[in-house]
């Protein structure tokens, strides 16, 4: 246990050096060579983690320097004193102790935080808000594709890998829906046909013929068969994360381990979407959030450690449909709000800083029914990542009718 922790600390220090001093060190990390799909662009691999249910940004990253925070959250506010005291990020914000693994990455300079961020659409509906955010078009339902799908579309890549875009889970994320086929995947190890192995080859060939058309079902069938063939090779041996990283044994932890494995297999991954649900904490928030935050922090730390040798070329962003009401309710929970928080992690991120103007929590500063106002549009950060890290300057297609204002969160790709 302690050993792994030390290793991670050491590794974190190492990245700190690498990210801050890349120019000075004889640093010769090879670019991700996407072996069978060399046509993939040289931009970062993007990992998009959606915290479904509307995560409370005021608990994830608490404004300890705002007195109104403590007044609004008599039972839920983090404490700034004692054994359970929040870990300060700067003179104003702090994170709960359970997020210590994230704070270490923050301190190493590979994690940036944006506060009071979100979608400008006023909806308090989970489903509408998620939909708008994943389409990247707040308030606009006429564009049927997702923002990541449009990014992939305009990249005009020759990367035809079925793993170019991966959605972990049973249902494909809306952000990936569009003309570039994306692969929905629950688990690498289980992605194969079961039955009499002598006969399965014939069966697969017959399926390939039956699914050979160009309709939606047929396209998906072809993709499924291709995915299966490629994953058979990967699944043949157990996956050992690098650098002693240990993923939590949870669906989210396993999904992120799968993403890391696919990235390292160099089979053409450009984007991956992963979900972590359960953030809709209307009641008993303190019974629910610590477990989720623990899972989140440990998984991110494992992913970071596991991919340390590639981290310069990986950018992870978190999203959540909105934040939660500033004032807690009678059930020690919080209702739907507006602004929340975003994490941006990667080796080419200007981390170690909380970005965004703090709007304040005084009654006259709140939005709508008593919510944290938004001072950064989520598209500002995503747009910067898309342009600087994914090397796609066509932001007008990715985020139509909006001009993202960059905040200096990401460095330009070399």
């Amino acid at each position: 246990m302690d050993d792994t922790l030390m290793t991670r600390r050491e590794l974190l220090r190492r990245t700190g050096v690498l990210t801050l001093g890349a120019m000075l060190l004889p640093f010769d990390l090879p670019r991700l060579v996407l072996a069978p799909h060399a046509a993939a662009p040289a931009g970062d691999v993007l990992v998009c983690v959606f915290l479904r249910g509307a995560a409370d940004g005021l608990t994830l990253v608490a404004p300890l320097g705002d007195r109104d925070y403590f007044a609004a959250r008599p039972t839920l506010a983090l404490t700034d004193k004692g054994a359970d005291a929040a870990l300060p990020l700067d003179t104003f914000f702090g994170v709960p102790p359970v997020l210590k693994p994230l704070k270490e990455i923050f301190d190493a300079g590979a994690l940036a935080i944006v506060h009071a961020i979100g979608s400008p659409d006023p909806t308090h509906s989970h489903f509408d808000a998620m939909d708008f955010m994943e389409r990247g078009t707040p308030g606009e339902k006429s564009i049927p594709t997702g923002w990541i799908a449009r990014h992939l579309q305009v990249m005009a890549s020759r990367n035809t890998s079925p793993f170019r875009a991966i959605g972990m889970g049973t249902v494909l994320q809306q952000s990936l829906r569009g003309p570039v086929p994306a692969t929905a995947l629950q688990s690498i190890a289980d992605f194969h046909l079961q039955g009499d192995t002598k006969r399965l080859e014939t069966f697969q060939q017959a399926l390939a013929a039956l699914y050979s058309g160009d309709g939606w079902i047929e396209t998906q069938g072809t993709l499924t068969l291709q995915t299966m063939r490629d994953l058979t090779k990967l699944a043949s041996s157990a996956y050992t994360p690098a650098n002693g990283a240990t993923y939590p044994d949870t669906p989210f932890g396993k999904a992120m381990a799968n993403v890391a494995q696919l990235i390292k297999a160099e089979i053409g991954v450009e984007v991956a979407c992963v979900d972590l649900g359960g953030w809709d904490t209307h009641v008993q928030q303190e019974m629910q959030m610590p477990r989720l935050m623990d899972e989140l922090a440990k998984t991110f730390a494992a992913f970071y450690t596991d991919l340390l040798d590639h981290i310069e070329h990986i950018t992870l962003v978190t999203m959540t449909e909105f934040g939660r009401r500033v004032k807690e309710n009678s059930g020690q929970g919080t209702d739907h709000g507006h602004g929340s928080v975003m994490f941006v992690m990667g080796g080419s991120i200007n981390g170690g800083k909380v970005y965004g103007d703090w709007p304040g929590l005084a009654a006259d500063k709140l939005y709508g029914p008593g919510d944290l106002a938004i001072t950064t549009d989520f598209r500002d950060v995503l747009g910067e990542v898309v342009q600087k890290r994914l090397r796609n300057a066509n932001l007008a297609t990715v985020f139509p009718n909006y001009t993202p204002a960059f905040r200096g969160i990401a460095r330009e790709t070399a």
Binding site: R52, G53, P122, T123, H124, S125, H126, F127, D128, P144, P162, G167, G169, T170, V171, L172, R177, G178, P179, A182, T183, A184, Q186, H192, L193, Q194, G195, D196, R199, T202, F203, Q205, A206, L207, A209, L210, Y211, G213, G215, W216, I217, E218, T219, Q220, G221, L223, T224, T227, G277, G278, H282, V283, N329, S330, G331, G333, D335, H336, G368, P369
Partner: protein, 528 residues
């Protein structure tokens, strides 16, 4: 705008013309009405519509939509009595004898008839560290409800009723894993969903609002004067009645939450460590927790002092609201007709909803007797539940229990009563056809056909005992008819023949499971 019939035929049918109808397929209807244009949206939300094959399409569409797919003999029966007669029969489930199934359910799943108090008392939360008989834990209550739902879909004669129960369970979706819900959802299923599935929407809505399972699931029982909880107030408007674009504001949500303050449940008590559930698990209104001030909701002024009538009045308003009529009409048409519903039919269904004050049976009658419905073959995709149940019905599978099936549905992403969010499972094909989903379907097809289903079996040879099919071509044709009930374009038929040799060669009967699995796994069996 609308395609003429000629255009449609040219595009959709002749392009994939069927080379010679087999004699069992009814010849193409001489004069199909102008076909509605099913615009399924822009890329990639379009299917390549399967080739049409005549009247068989209408019958199989009816059996896949108002039933969970045909059992052996069902197709022929509908062919004989006619589609409209079958629809009328199914619209009157009270006239259909289902006593054999009822007897089985009573014997297999005793929790179905219990009150919440009895469930609490008989299936208490195990004390930490103890390992009681699994049959006495709350999990048993969940399992019985899941299995019974599958059992009814598989074996009930009242198929349309079960389809509607599925529709409303999904519309008023409740996550059985939350808090007290595991002891409450069984009663919700019986006293809310099943009781009013074909009744008046207003009765259904009121019953749901006062259902202890819903009060717990959407936190309305915690919604009290002074610090309201908006969860239920929002979802009853967004998901249950008006729809998100139905014309309400955040202010309306906040005010409706106030109207609902004081609505709650009588919970069991603990005395000296012993649970006392007597009289527990029923709706109760606590005037002390109710915010009795004046309210203004959806432009309606509720004077101070309304008590429980605040929310009762608003339920009435929501049930009758024109947005509700449109929202539900559209959702029902999406369910029964097409992912992108024909506007004219939605309009007629909404009018029927308004004219009959939300009589669900009457609204359904409009939808099911419409031409749009009968000519909508290929416009819906089976969701996992429909895929699994229709495969087992088609093969007349004999099951000892449905436990493995409940787990399969979970793997496929449609676990029964297990969706944590209140929006219900999506009813559009695009959400259910992806790499993961197809793999799971193919594996289920292999599992069933090869008799690897735990505690269940199929007898494929038995299905063929009265037929003389011997060659590959004959056997493939038999199973196309038996499972799909419609002829396939010649090139698709060839794809099923090829793995088994020449059409004229003798079919190797040990490979029957492969053939059956292949048809179930093919795109053709994914259409609902």
């Amino acid at each position: 705008m609308q395609l003429t019939r000629r255009d449609f035929l040219k595009d959709a049918m002749f392009a994939t013309a069927i080379a010679g109808l087999p004699d069992w397929a009814t010849a193409l209807d001489e004069s199909p009405p102008a076909l509605p244009r099913f615009d399924t949206g822009t890329y990639p939300w379009h299917w390549t519509p399967p080739a049409r094959s005549g009247q068989n399409d209408a019958i199989i569409t009816v059996l896949n939509r108002i039933a969970f797919g045909p059992r052996p003999g069902d197709f022929e029966r509908v062919q004989q009595i006619g589609i409209d007669a079958y629809i009328e029969e199914q619209l009157a489930p009270e006239t259909i004898d289902d006593s054999a199934l009822e007897a089985q359910l009573a014997q297999r799943y005793p929790t179905l008839k219990m009150s919440a108090a009895e469930l609490w008392q008989n299936y208490p939360q195990p004390a930490p560290g103890t390992r009681p008989d699994p049959k006495t834990t709350p999990q048993q209550v969940i399992t019985e409800l899941q299995e019974a739902t599958l059992w009814r879909a598989l074996f009930s004669q009242r198929q349309l009723f079960e389809v509607l129960v599925d529709f409303w369970s999904n519309h008023f979706s409740i996550f059985i894993g939350k808090d007290q819900v595991k002891w409450l959802k069984t009663v919700d299923d019986r006293e809310v969903i099943r009781r009013y599935a074909l009744g008046k929407f207003k009765d259904l809505l009121l019953a749901s609002a006062q259902s202890p399972a819903m009060l717990d699931y959407l936190d309305n029982r915690l919604n009290v004067k002074g610090v309201p909880n908006e969860n239920y107030a929002r979802e009853i408007m967004e998901l249950h009645t008006l729809g998100v674009d139905g014309g309400y504001t955040q202010q309306d949500v906040a005010e409706l939450a106030r109207a609902f303050t004081g609505w709650g449940i009588k919970l069991p008590t603990r005395r000296a460590g012993r649970l006392d559930a007597t009289g527990a698990g029923v709706f109760e209104f606590d005037p002390k927790k109710h915010d009795d001030g004046a309210k203004r909701i959806l432009g309606i002024d509720l004077p101070a002092g309304g008590g429980i009538n605040d929310a009762l009045l608003m339920i009435d308003v929501l049930a009758k609201h024109p947005s509700t009529a449109r929202f539900l009409a559209r959702k029902l048409v999406v369910r029964f007709v097409a992912d992108t519903p024909p506007d004219a039919l939605v309009q007629r269904a909404a009018e029927a909803f308004t004219q009959t004050e939300g009589d669900i049976r009457q609204v359904l009658s409009v939808i099911l007797h419409s031409d749009e419905f009968k000519h909508s073959f290929g416009q819906k995709i089976k969701r996992p539940f429909e895929f699994v149940v229709s495969a087992l019905r088609a093969l007349d599978a004999q099951l000892e229990d449905a436990r493995a099936l409940a787990r399969t549905l979970q793997v496929m992403g449609q676990g029964l009563f297990l969706l944590p969010t209140p929006d219900g499972y999506p009813d559009r094909g695009t959400a259910w056809i992806n790499t993961n989903a197809l793999l799971a379907r193919w594996n289920f097809a292999l599992q069933v056909a090869a008799n690897r289903l735990p505690r269940g079996k199929v007898n494929l040879a038995d299905a063929m005992k009265n037929v003389s099919a011997r060659t590959v071509g004959e056997v493939v044709d038999f199973w196309i008819k038996h499972l799909l009930h419609r002829p396939l374009p010649d090139q698709d038929r060839q794809k099923l023949i090829e793995p088994f040799g020449k059409a004229s060669a003798r079919f190797e009967m040990t490979r029957l499971p492969e053939l059956v699995a292949l048809i179930l796994a093919s795109p053709h069996f994914q259409y609902r």
